[in-house]
Amino acid sequence: MARLRTLEILVGAFMVAGFVALFFLAMKVSNLSAAANGDGYAIEARFDNVGTLKVRAAVSMAGVRVGRVESIRFDQETYQAVVTMRIEQRFDRIPTDTFANIYTAGLLGEQYIGLDPGGSPDYLADGDQIEHTQSALVLERMIGQFLFSKAEENSQ
Amino acid sequence: MQRGSRPGAADARAPSSRHDVAGDDLVRIRGLTFSRQGRRILDRVDLDIPRGKVTAIMGPSGTGKTTLLKLISGQLRPDAGEVLVDGQNVHRLGRGALFELRKRMGMLFQSGALLTDLDVFENVAFPLREHARLPEPVLRKLVLLKLEAVGLRGAARLLPSELSGGMARRVALARAVALDPMMIMYDEPFTGQDPISMGVLVSLIRNLNDASRLTSIVVSHDVRETASISDYIYIIANGKVMCRGTPAEVAADDSPWVRQFMDGQPDGPVHFHYEARPLEQDLRGAGVKRS
C-alpha cells in the first residue's frame, strides 16, 4: 500500500508539473495576457488599399500599441476595404480628425496601422469612423513612379 | 492419497452405462466441429461430462484438447454442433449471460496465468473483488482459506515471479475456486512437474472435486497420473473420440491405437518415422528434398 501512495503522489506531481508548463506557455510565451483585455471600443476606417494588413495586426499611436485590427472586409458599393479596429478602453482621448495610416514595420516586416492625432476637441467613441486615411504603399507603384519620373528628368 | 486404490473405488461410483439421465451431465457436447487454418481439429465430436465427477480428456499433443476447453467456455465458436453447459447453449448466450456463466466455471491454465503485477494474495482475491461485494475482513479470510486449501497460505505476499511452476499452478487453482464454481477445467496441469509437485496436484484435484462436489475436466497427456484420479476417460485423436470409458474399461481396451497411446509405445498406428522417401534415395542424393 505504501507503494501505491508513492505512485499517487508522483502522478499528482506529474499532472501539476504538466499544467504549470501549459500555464507558462500560455502566459509567458504567448500573448494570452495581452489579448485577455478583450474589451475595448470599435472604430472603423476605409482604405483604398490595405496592402498586406492582417487581422490582429497592431494599431499604434506614437509607436505604442493601443489596439488591434479586429476585422477587414470589402465593400462592394464603394470598392474600398473597411477595417474595424478595437481600441483598448483606456485610450479614450483620440481626436475625431485623427489620421489612420498603414505603415510597414521595418523593411520587410508586417504592416500595421499608425494613428496620427489631429487637433479636434471631440474624441472618438464606439462605432465612429476615421475620415482621413492613407493607404498602404504598394512597392510596384512606387517603382513605376520612380522610373516614370526618372524618364521625365532625362527627357528634359 | 493412495493412488493405487483409485481405479477400484472409481469403478464402484462410475455410471454403469452411457445412457444416463440427462440431468446428470453438466456438459453435453453434440456434433462439435472446429477447423483452424484448413485443418479439422474436431470432427462431429459427442461428449458428456457427468456432474460431480472427474472426467479426463486425453490424446496426443495438438489434437485440440485445449481448443475443446475454449469451446466449452465460449472463448471460441465452433463451425458446427452445440455445447450445453448446465442446460444452456454456450454460444447462443448474450455477453452478459456468458459472463455470468463464466463466473461459475473455473479454469486452470497450463502456465497458471497469474497476473504478474499482483502478489499471490491479490491474485486469488481478484475474482472476489471483481464480482462479489464483500467487506474487506470477510474477503481476507476467504482468500486465506482458499490458499490454505492448496497449502500456500504462507506464500500470500510473494509475487508470481518468485514462485516455482508448481506453486504458481496451485495459486491459480486457489484463484479458480475462489468464487466456488460448479466446474473446473484443467489444461495440462501435470506437464513439466517434478514427482512431488505432481503428487500434490493430483491429490488436490481429486480432493477438491470430492470436498466441494465439483465437476472437473482434466485435459492431459500424462496417462498414469490422470487415469489414477479420473472417473471417466475420453481419448481424442484426429478430431474424433477414439475411446471412452472408465479407467478400467480403457485399460482393457485392446484396439492397437489405444494400446499404443496408453502404454506409450514408440511405434504403432502413430508412426515413428515422419513421411519421407526411402533411406537409400536420400543417402544417394545431394540435398535433402521436401517430400
Binding site: 501505491l4 505512485l7 499517487e8 508522483l10 502522478v11 506531481a13 506529474f14 499532472m15 508539473a17 504538466g18 499544467f19 504549470v20 508548463a21 501549459l22 507558462f24 506557455l25 500560455a26 509567458k28 510565451v29 504567448s30 500573448n31 494570452l32 495576457s33 495581452a34 489579448a35 490582429r56 | 475454449k70 467456455s73 472463448q75 459472463f99 455470468e100 463464466r102 463466473k103 466455471m105 473455473g106 479454469m107 491454465f109 497450463q110 502456465s111 496465468a113 497469474l114 497476473l115 504478474t116 481478484f126 475474482p127 471483481e130 464480482h131 491459480a172 484463484r175
Partner: protein
Amino acid sequence: MINALASLGRFGLAAIASVGRAHLLLLAILAGLPSMLVRPRLLVAQLYGVGVLSLLIILVSGLFVGMVLGLQGYYVLSQFGAAESLGVMVAASLVRELGPVVTALLVAGRAGSALTAEIGLMKATEQLSGLEMMAVDPVRRVLTPRFFGGFIAMPLLAAMFSAVGVLGGYFVGVGLLGVDDGAFWSQMQAKVDFHEDVVNGVIKSLVFGVVVTWIALFQGYDATPTSAGVSSATTRTVVHSALAVLGLDFVLTALMFGE
C-alpha cells in the same frame, strides 16, 4: 509471377483486415471508459507508467532541443540583424512543431514499445485468456486505462518539452550569446499567439497521444503470442507510430497553419 501477385494480394488483404481489427479494438477500448472511471486506481497506475516514467527523457531532450534552437537560430538570425527575434523563433518552433512531434516520437519509443511488450507478454502467458475466463473483459480492464493514460499524459509531456525548450533557448541565447533579455521575451509574447500556436500545439499532441497509444495497444493485443512475435510487434509499434505521427503532423499543420 502469379505467385508474386497472389502474395501481394494476400498481403494487401491482411493489411486491410489488420486496419479493421485495429478500429474495432479502438471502439472496444473507448466503450470501456465508464467502467474505468469507477476504478480510478487503474488510470493512476497508467499515468505513472506512461507519464512519470517518460519525464526524464522528455525533459532532457526538450532542454537540448531548445538549446540547439537557440544556437542555430542565433547564427541564422544575426546575419539579418534580427537576433532579437530569437525568442519568437525558438518558442514558435517548439510550441507549434517540435514539442508535439518530438514528444510523440520519444513517447512512442519509450512508452509505446513498453506497452506493446507488456500486452504481448500478457497474451503469450495467457493472462488475457485468464481474465476472460474470470468473466473480466481484458480490453476494459487492461487496455482502456493504458489508452487514457497515454491520451492524458501526451499533451502534458509536450507542454513540458516546449517549456523546458524555451528555457534552454533562453539560457543559450540570452545567457551565452548576449541576446537582449527584454527583447527575447517581449517579441515572443507579442508574436506567439495563444489560440493559433499554443492551443493548436495542444490539439496536435492530443491527436498524437491517441494515435501512438492506439498503435502500441493494438500491436500488443494482436501480436503472435511467442517471443519472436512480441519482439516484432514492438518494432512495428515504433515504426508505425513514427510514420503516423509525421504524416499526421503534415496534415494537421496544413489545416491549422494554412491561410
